[in-house]
């Protein structure tokens, strides 16, 4: 039985992701680590409108009956929990960040907030879809050194101690990319205001 406090957190973050246009109706995913178990969204459920029965609990290290209901992205979440200190994962489809991921190998924010918080977000490529070991391994590898990464043309994976924290990294990235897009549209010379700015690209 999943504690109602835990469900409430999933419901709020899922609703906010949908409201912020960072997922489609059935897209994206959330999970948390509970000891040696993971709680993850049920396959086919809608993050923007979660019900208590939409959360599934299963083991991190091996299968049990919970996997029959779990999200197709269970494998990538499990792999991340096995390879990083993450206690929560937010996977979403931030549109501007996805657009940038199609032309860059890394997203280096130029706004102050994301420079400070994220420094740099790597973009990894994997054409195999969600749920495959190939994709799970690449995403987990990248998250060993970064708290948020982009899967090219797909979306972001962010980790934290709480869903709240991982959501913060996700929304910070999308906001930063929207600012970068606006800067491109304005198309005026960039004034570098950050001391040691070359450090961000080397993060």
């Amino acid at each position: 039985m999943i504690d109602e406090r835990i469900f409430e957190t999933f419901r709020e973050i899922g609703r906010d992701l949908y409201a912020a246009d960072m997922i489609s109706s059935h897209g994206g995913n959330l999970s948390i680590r509970l000891g040696d178990h993971v709680v993850i969204k049920r396959r086919g459920s809608m993050l923007g409108n979660l019900k208590p029965q939409d959360l599934v609990e299963t083991r991190i290290d091996k299968n049990d009956s919970g996997v029959a209901l779990a999200s197709t992205e269970l494998l990538v979440h499990r792999t991340i929990y096995q390879q990083t200190p993450a206690l929560a994962i937010v996977h979403c489809h931030p549109r501007t960040a996805i657009a940038f991921s199609l032309s860059r190998d890394e997203i280096v924010p130029i706004d102050n907030e994301a420079s400070y918080l994220l420094k740099k977000v790597p973009v990894v490529t994997e054409e195999f879809p969600s749920g495959t070991p190939q994709m799970a391994e690449k995403v987990a590898q990248a998250l060993q050194n970064y708290k948020i990464i982009m899967l090219r043309g797909h979306g972001s994976f962010a980790i934290g101690q709480t869903l709240d924290e991982a959501f913060f990294w996700s929304s910070t990235l999308e906001e930063s990319c929207q600012i970068a897009l606006a800067v491109k549209l304005i198309n005026e010379p960039f004034i570098e205001y950050r001391k040691n700015s070359e450090g961000y690209g080397k993060w």
């Binding site: 504690d3 835990i6 509970l34 400070y116 101690q161 709480t162 040691n196």
Partner: protein, 601 residues
């Protein structure tokens, strides 16, 4: 090598031999430094047959690869030994300047073995290490001794014991430049048992840094993090660590009168705000620390560093005392005598309850701030009831027939937090390897301060994940060695990158946390080897059975059992709390003795 000096200094006080030899760099990679390296060396040097106050116990002083680099709060160092208070593995760490000098002296580790025939002190200079007669120094209090042997504008720093350590009080600290302490678990008694009065140190070497460019960028970004976080840039500098008093009291998690209550009506009178308004002379800082949480306080009678939050709680709420001047004076006296102030105050609070309930015949009563100084003196010199109190609260309460009134875990006195109002803190304290300690990870950040984000403090399901991550992270930070307040504002990711930049060895965040997990498991193995079992992973019965009476925590007890079951599974331990063979292989700890047979009896 960058980061490490690659050198161990080994002194045998019985024979007078002084040796240096290379640090095993594979061991350094796996355990980093500080607490990790100390625990690993202690595993080899001190087994279960060793009496903690015998010459066979050792003191292992360690710094870390970041110590002395100048990275924010890279001033700390550690001592490891087998605790005379608890019989568990023990390390205690401290800030100030001594650790930086220790690194600059060119050593990663100082091992002190044996027992000197007569009192001695150790002098470590860049060109020479020597032992000196300390007959005339024996009996001196901490401040006078520190002034006699040390300082010179922080070019010469002093560790020493006071009367408490000389008289083998099991709650005696090793004092660091007079006012700071390697406090918990009684390392001062081990030093006293060796007839070692002091260790004086001077150094001049610089710590090598592999990638200066990355290192400088990390220092710059860390500065921003510390400056932007209100805890590290405003609350701690303005009010000191005592800023926690009102915050913890407001949510009903401030243990009061030996944990009979969970809120203190006098909290405002002993708060950080009151300390700043009435008694603060100025704030100060450890080496390379921009936070500056150190207080210099003054009353009509004394002037000195502190008091810290835990000390103020221990002599304050724990004893039902709302007289901040009396608490400041007790703090200065406890430092001068060389006590762990948490254990000293907690033990006095225990004695007050024993006395009120007539288990002992004494005038000690909750609220009697006027008796603090006399009681501390009695404890340091083992006079009257003080002789029993010098043994710590568990031995005291057991002797007088009421062990349940000792607020301890594994024999170590509890800190300020009432875990009935912080369920995760309850699990953390119950499973802490050196006993009830809030520095082996602390759920204060997640359950009270919202750092990095707030979680529900009453939630039970899933708490083990947070506790385990905090414990592992804490063990890693204690091995670098950095201050825990930095980690309230700066993520582990930064520390892994700084460690990589300094040493030139690649550590991802997960690698650093894995170092912490390895240390935690080795400490667990050590305690199992000493005969500890899962039965000691518990809390005082009062916290498990008596609902909290006050405020927003009213009605709660600690729901330890379900959290503990989840914790063992999540740690990769069996139901008896013993690391599985698979977990040991995963952590490169295979081959270490598990003590499993003893534990199953």
């Amino acid at each position: 090598m960058n980061g490490w000096s690659e050198k161990i200094l080994d002194i045998d006080l019985t024979t007078g031999s002084i040796k240096t030899y290379p640090l095993d760099m594979e061991m350094a990679r796996l355990y980093v430094g500080g607490r990790g390296l100390g625990t690993r060396l202690l595993w080899d040097l001190v087994g279960p047959q060793v009496d903690t106050l015998s010459p066979e116990n050792v003191l292992i002083f360690t710094n870390g690869p970041l110590t002395g680099t100048g990275y924010q709060t890279s001033n700390r160092f550690s001592v490891s030994t087998k605790s005379p208070l608890t019989g568990t593995v023990l390390d205690a760490n401290s800030g100030g300047f001594w650790g930086m000098q220790f690194k600059k002296a060119g050593y990663d580790v100082l091992i002190v073995r044996g027992k000197a025939e007569k009192p001695v002190y150790i002098e470590i200079k860049p060109e020479q290490v020597s032992l000196h007669d300390a007959m005339e120094l024996w009996g001196m209090r901490v401040n006078a001794l520190t002034q006699k042997l040390g300082q010179e504008k922080n070019h010469r720093n002093v560790l020493c014991i006071g009367p408490a350590g000389e008289n083998l009080s099991r709650i005696a600290a090793i004092m660091n430049d007079g006012q700071r302490a390697l406090a918990r678990g009684g390392p001062g008694a081990v030093m006293g048992s060796k007839n070692l009065k002091a260790i004086v140190i001077e150094g001049k070497e610089k710590t090598g840094i592999a990638d200066q460019e990355k290192y400088k960028f990390l220092v710059y970004e860390t500065r921003k993090m510390l400056a932007a976080n209100p805890l590290t840039s405003q609350a701690l500098p303005e009010f000191g660590t005592v800023v926690m008093m009102n915050l913890v009291n407001n949510i009903g998690a401030l243990s009061t009168r030996n944990f009979l209550h969970n809120q203190f009506e006098g909290a405002e009178d002993i708060s950080g705000e009151t300390l700043t308004e009435k008694y603060l002379v100025k704030n100060d800082a450890c080496w390379a620390c921009p936070i500056r949480c150190t207080r210099i306080s003054k009353t009509d009678k004394v002037k000195g560093e502190g008091p810290e939050f835990q000390t103020t709680w221990a002599f304050g709420a724990q004893c039902g005392i709302a007289d901040l001047a009396a608490i400041i004076e007790a703090n200065c006296l406890a430092n001068d005598l060389g006590f762990d102030t948490i254990s000293a105050g907690n033990t006095i609070g225990c004695a007050m309850e024993l006395s009120e309930k007539r288990f002992i015949d004494s005038d000690l009563r909750f609220g009697r701030g006027d008796l603090l100084a006399r009681t501390l003196e009695d404890m340091a010199y083992r006079r009257d009831l003080g002789a029993d109190m010098a043994e710590g609260s568990l031995r005291l309460a057991t002797k007088y027939g009421a062990p349940e009134l000792s607020m301890t875990v594994k024999g170590l006195e509890m800190p300020a937090y009432d875990p009935r109002g912080m369920q995760g803190q309850g699990l953390l304290l119950a499973t802490s390897n050196r006993g009830a300690c809030h520095m082996r990870g602390n759920m204060l950040g997640l359950e009270v301060l919202g750092l990095p984000k707030m979680i529900d403090r009453f939630q039970v399901q899933g708490k083990s994940s947070y506790v385990i991550l905090n414990q592992n992270s804490s063990a890693a930070i204690d091995s670098l060695v950095l201050c825990k307040f930095t980690s309230m504002a700066v993520a582990d990711e930064y520390f892994a990158r700084v460690l990589s930049a300094v040493t030139g060895i690649k550590y991802a965040t997960g690698d650093l946390i894995r170092v912490g997990e390895r240390i935690w498991n080795l400490e667990r193995l050590y305690n199992l080897r000493e005969g500890f079992t899962n039965k000691e992973d518990t809390l005082p019965l009062r916290l498990l059975n008596e609902p909290a009476p006050d405020g927003a925590t009213r009605g709660w007890v600690v729901h330890l059992e379900p959290m503990l079951k989840e914790y063992y599974r999540a740690r990769g331990w069996n139901e008896l709390g013993i690391p599985t063979a698979q977990k040991l292989v995963e952590l490169e700890l295979d081959g270490m003795q598990t003590g499993e047979k003893e534990n199953q009896r």
